[in-house]
Subunit: 206 residues, 2 copies
């Protein structure tokens, strides 16, 4: 392996080890010694790549923003219906947060009062939810009586909540919770589904 | 003031000062010296009441559970309709979380990876949401096509999410977000409101 490849690989291992440490024990109590050991490198090698824990935190957050942007990026040539895209993407995000410690640590850092340098991840997610729902409204896909700002706020908070509870409760499945949320919410906000699907054909009382 | 009253008051001041420290900087980085200073007492007085920061964390959490139980307790002689009670109570909780640093610090500790001793607060909230919605179902107040477990999960997560985002984003108003959530969700889950209120009288497309 060329020297430069090795350097890139060591850097990635350090970011991953830092993400594991932050995810498990928070930013404040994670030690550079432990992070170097987790990456299988010396403390000297760590300091060659990152001059401080702060720099490692920023690198984890930047890596997580990149992973999130990949999840949100439109596929070339693909123009999905906005509500379907929102549902699918929130499922992908919930799954990736379960699987990918760097993505999870990035969101964890954003909520960590001992870090709190940046909330770029939530801004990226919130901004994408806003633009996707604005597109849904302009295409007539949102039910007419549904205020755009209410849906934006509720969808943004729902995904934050399913993640927050996943950190607190080992029984809680964010992937299942996202499905439950959409099961309730989609008929309410969608112009196409509500009238045919339920209220007019269902007795109002059990 | 009698000696015992003074002791009770000092203890409460210490709990409040600890809550302020945990809320601002997290459990791990809060110092006993700073907490004693914030309460206007000596370090010796702090150690007379609490032998460790762990003991102070537990006291803040216990105080927050008491505050939450007061919010959730039924008023004597009052038998509110369960869905209305759920909406009203979630508004009260959002307001109290803004105003009361002990309640807020309790929920903050539950999400703090450097503490994480207990998740009693979320269990109390989640259990109350479950029993209130179970009552709504048994009284026929929930729309028949709405799965009970989906509503329990979504309401529990929505309130967690509005709080989580409040910690991340100074622009975010949890009180307003709770209103937006119910504006969307109530017509969807309520047996009484949906059919009259919207789908049958509204054109399906804009």
């Amino acid at each position: 392996m060329a020297k430069q490849d090795r350097a890139v690989r060591t850097r990635q291992q350090l970011i991953r080890s830092a993400a594991e440490a932050f995810d498990q024990g928070g930013f404040a109590l994670s030690s550079l010694t432990g992070i170097a050991r987790g990456a299988g490198v010396s403390s000297g090698a760590l300091h060659f790549h990152f001059r401080s824990k702060q720099a490692l935190g920023a690198a984890v957050e930047t890596a997580a923003v990149g992973l999130l942007q990949d999840i949100l990026a439109p596929r070339p040539g693909d123009r999905p219906a906005p509500l379907g895209n929102l549902v699918d993407t929130s499922h992908v995000l919930a799954r990736r947060l379960t699987e990918d410690v760097v993505l999870r640590a990035g969101f964890g850092l954003a909520a960590d009062v001992t870090w709190r340098q940046d909330v770029a991840l939530w801004q990226v997610w919130g901004g994408w939810v806003r633009s996707t729902l604005t597109q849904a409204r302009s295409e007539g896909a949102l039910a007419p009586d549904v205020p755009l700002e209410d849906v934006i706020s509720t969808v943004t908070a729902a995904v934050a909540g399913t993640q927050a509870l996943a950190r607190l409760d080992v029984e809680w499945s964010p992937r299942y919770a996202v499905a439950q949320f959409w099961n309730l919410m989609l008929p309410r906000i969608s112009a196409a589904m509500v009238p045919l699907d339920r209220a007019c054909q269902t007795a109002p009382h059990e």
